[in-house]
């Protein structure tokens, strides 16, 4: 099984996360009591969604024991985490 076989799952994940992020961000634009929480959730979903692809690839590669791809995906996640410092 190649990573490409995961494309339908990845597409659904991206669409779901993107739609949820947009909805939360739009709600945050209105003067609601939970506007701050919506904004935080929207941003987390939006900026986290691209990394779902890497996480799925990591899991898929681990299941296939493709350790080279596991290392690549793990390294990407580690480098991305540097932005949180």
């Amino acid at each position: 099984v190649s990573l490409e076989a995961r494309a339908p799952l990845l597409r659904r994940l991206l669409l779901a996360a993107g739609a949820a992020a947009l909805a939360a961000l739009l709600l945050s634009a209105f003067p609601l009591p939970a506007a701050g929480a919506f904004r935080t959730a929207g941003l987390a979903l939006l900026l986290g969604a691209p990394w779902l692809v890497v996480l799925v690839c990591l899991g898929d590669a681990a299941a296939r024991r493709a350790w080279g791809w596991v290392a690549v995906a793990a390294a990407l996640l580690a480098v991305a985490a540097l932005s949180l410092l």
Binding site: L22, R39, S83
Partner: protein
């Protein structure tokens, strides 16, 4: 309400033109925010990065449906672009704003020239399928990430030529791989700009909704427009934007 409506409309125009002409969102969002709404350049860059992450998600979902994304290639090249994005985002505050404005103007001029050349070389352009040059591609990809982190653009302007000319990908596959990688670059760069408080959060939802809406309308509107006139008109608008950015 008026500000939200004007952001929504500006975003829709950017999304429509971006989708019709294959121009990345950041090339439009940064000038819209900086020149149109008077947002400081670093904040315009940070806000653009958040918005482009959203357009990358939507674009990637579409390309995945059409089976155009080479995930393994994207993963293999992403380390270079990520390193570039991180380094440029961290370095950005230490650069004079004028330098960033001039670099952005250069990007606008390059995009305009690309649009003007498109008509002369025909649809899609010449393919230079060389292949087997992953090392060179890997070494150059930090430039794409760097463009993201410093200028708030996706980096497709650099990434797509690398994918086409060094790795021999056909245009639509190169754009698909680049679109996915753009989301990784812009999201990490956006987190750094967010940490510095350089994102205009209230503007994000309206711009993002506008851009996505405009991109959805593109196929219906595009059929009624003369593509070449649109390209020339938009190239002139970009050149005007470049002059304004240099003087800002």
């Amino acid at each position: 309400v008026l500000a939200a409506a004007s952001l929504l409309l500006s975003g829709a125009v950017a999304g429509l033109l971006g989708a019709l002409l294959g121009v990345g969102g950041g090339v439009l969002v940064v000038p819209i925010l900086h020149l149109g709404f008077g947002v400081d350049l670093p904040v315009a860059v940070g806000t653009s990065l958040v918005v482009i992450t959203g357009t990358s998600i939507a674009g990637s979902a579409g390309y995945l449906r059409r089976g155009l994304v080479d995930l393994e290639l994207a993963l293999a090249l992403a380390m270079g672009t990520l390193a570039g994005a991180l380094a440029a985002s961290w370095a950005a505050p230490f650069l004079p704003e004028r330098v960033v404005a001039w670099l952005f103007s250069a990007v606008l001029v390059l995009t305009a020239l690309n649009l003007l050349r498109k008509g002369r070389r025909g649809e899609g352009g010449a393919e230079a399928a060389v292949g087997g040059r992953r090392t060179a591609a890997f070494l150059l990809t930090p430039l794409a990430g760097g463009a993201s982190g410093l200028l708030g653009i996706g980096g497709g302007l650099v990434q797509v030529p690398i994918l086409r000319l060094l790795l021999g990908l056909e245009m639509r596959r190169a754009v698909a791989v680049s679109t996915l990688m753009v989301g990784w670059n812009t999201s990490v760069a956006a987190v750094i700009y967010l940490g510095r408080g350089e994102v205009d959060l209230p503007k994000v939802p309206w711009l993002l909704a506008g851009i996505l809406g405009g991109a959805l309308l593109a196929p219906a509107v595009g059929a009624r427009l003369a593509q070449r006139s649109l390209e020339i008109g938009f190239a002139l608008l970009l050149l005007y934007g470049a002059v304004r950015m240099m003087g800002s």
